[in-house]
């Protein structure tokens, strides 16, 4: 019986993974459809306002392909990706740590709530200006700005996850001899992780947007710097091409890294839904 159980479990795991891959591709079709719609509206805008205001999508995409052949483009994209990625990871580290603490300590939560409101309320541009004064126009400015913008998002997501944990499960763990640390690692953390993903995705997107913006304003290279150059030269097609590339970079990271991880963790949520049915 043990043998057949194991092979059953393995077949099921394989079938599950295959189904998830197919679902992913199916999701890709939906994405493609909305992309086509978006391009159609873009094209209509081009035909109404002319190439100087809004270049044709085809022209922008061919500029993108042209840029992709230049090695320097990749270096610029890498600079931005590295800055955004590093500060995103830092934001996750700081945000999750503080979130876990404040999720467990209502007093800390109450103390930091007004502070978070202020932090989330100050527009990123203000931080960029301050960071430029403090750090000049380098990596530091970009990273600090992203950190300030993304950390509160992760913090709030984590704290809400911890607060919404099932106390009944906690009691169950306690009954079977789990101390506070093991209850956290086996129960609350697992619960929080499922809750955290929307905030992680939001924080990553914020990180990218703010990084490009900071680069542009501080003129510190990367995609933002290239965007700034394109603006100076009134090369609208190239400016749009850089925008397209930064969006592409974000989508690549989100769907290549975060979503597969999330799908693996959230198997239990999709398990009860029949295949292909989406809400």
């Amino acid at each position: 019986m043990t043998g057949s159980t194991i092979s059953n479990a393995m077949t099921r795991a394989l079938v599950d993974r295959g189904a998830r891959a197919l679902k992913f591709i199916w999701g890709g079709w939906a994405g493609l459809a909305s992309f086509a719609l978006f391009c159609a509206v873009w094209q209509a805008g081009f035909e109404t306002y002319g190439a100087f205001i809004l270049p044709a999508p085809l022209e922008v995409f061919s500029t993108v392909f042209g840029l992709l052949h230049i090695p320097e483009t990749w270096a610029l994209a890498l600079t931005t990706a590295k800055r955004a990625g590093e500060s995103f990871l830092l934001a996750v580290l700081v945000g999750v740590t503080l979130g876990v603490i404040s999720g467990h300590a209502p007093a800390v939560m109450r103390l930091q709530k007004p502070l978070l409101t202020v932090l989330l309320g100050v527009p990123p541009v203000a931080w960029i200006v301050l960071a430029m004064i403090w750090f000049g126009g380098g990596d530091g400015t970009v990273i600090v700005t992203v950190l300030v913008a993304a950390t509160p998002i992760v913090l709030v997501g984590t704290a809400e996850g911890i607060l919404s944990r099932d106390r009944g499960l906690d009691a169950m763990g306690q009954l079977y001899g789990a101390g506070p640390i093991r209850r956290f690692t086996t129960l609350s953390w697992r619960h929080t992780l499922s809750h955290l993903f929307p905030s992680l995705i939001l924080a990553l997107a914020t990180g990218f947007k703010v990084a490009v913006m900071a680069e542009l304003l501080a003129n510190s290279g990367g995609i933002g710097g290239a965007l700034s150059d394109a603006r100076t030269n009134f090369d609208i097609a190239e400016a749009l091409a850089w925008v397209v590339m930064s969006v592409g970079l974000l989508i690549g990271i989100e769907y290549g890294l975060i979503h597969p991880f999330r799908a693996e963790l959230d198997r239990w949520k999709t398990a009860a839904q029949p295949w292909g049915v989406k809400k």
Binding site: T2, N8, G168, A171, Y176, T186
Partner: protein
């Protein structure tokens, strides 16, 4: 028989936010004994089990526990939604730091006891029926071979046939391993079947109304004598008449 009781609650009381739900509770469970605890809904039975198992803090009175390892079948199943049935059953073993390899055999054994198929073990709780979830929770309670089990209305979600089989499981398991237990239920038939003694809680939780010894011992009583005893108790014993008059759930 000078063996000390495995569980002894003395003058136990409890209040939720200043509202007293339990007071003056004196209960003992002897070694190897299953004690049934009955009382109307909301009288504090679950609270009593939670305090004596240590989930809730003792504010009033004293508890003496002389067992080694306990388990509880909760009224709500309390399964981890993100873990498969097998992982849920294995949870107490995981907490006891038993290696993964050894957990497997224990999980299969416990699952077999509650008639869960190996195919069900790889499912998540959302994919299981209510009765299967309940059986998973029962398997989790039995997997680590506890010597004291708190049963908090464990069989309410099961159909009649399965309920009987699970009662038999509790009885045979208790006899084979000398497991003592506190069995909370609404069903006097069930209480008389699985327990040595029945304790009735006051409707407001302020004290014990009374105790009755069920003749014979679990597993050795015939269905006829049981039915007879229950009918007689409900008709003639003021202890039960009073309780089950007000309890709407007992009318089934």
């Amino acid at each position: 028989m000078t063996l000390k009781p495995v569980l002894q609650l003395s003058n136990l009381g409890h209040a939720y936010l200043g509202r007293k739900v339990l007071a003056d509770i004196n209960v003992t469970v002897e070694s190897g004994e299953v004690l049934a605890l009955v009382g109307p809904s909301g009288c504090g039975k679950s609270t009593l089990a939670h305090i004596s198992s240590g989930i809730l803090q003792v504010h009033e009175g004293a508890i003496e526990r002389r067992y080694k390892r306990h388990a509880m079948i909760f009224q709500d199943t309390r399964l981890m939604p993100w873990a498969t049935a097998a992982e849920n059953i294995a949870y107490p073993l995981r907490l006891a730091r038993i290696p993964r390899r050894q957990r497997r055999a224990h999980v299969l054994e416990a699952a077999q006891k509650v008639h869960l198929l190996p195919d069900d073990l790889i499912k998540f709780p959302v994919e299981l029926s209510g009765g299967m979830q309940q059986r998973t929770a029962i398997a989790r309670a039995l997997v680590a071979h506890p010597d004291f089990v708190y049963y908090d209305e464990p069989f309410t979600a099961l159909d009649v046939a399965l309920k009987r089989r699970m009662q038999d499981l509790v009885i045979s398991n208790a006899i084979a391993t000398k497991t003592a237990g506190l069995f909370i239920t609404h069903d006097l038939n069930e209480a008389a079947r699985v327990a040595h003694r029945i304790v009735v809680l006051q409707a407001n939780g302020h004290g014990i109304l009374g105790t009755r010894q069920v003749p014979g011992s679990p597993g050795s009583r015939s269905d006829e004598t049981l039915a007879e005893w229950v009918r007689d108790a409900l008709r003639n014993d003021p202890l039960f008449a009073q309780i089950f008059d007000v309890d709407e759930r007992a009318i089934t």
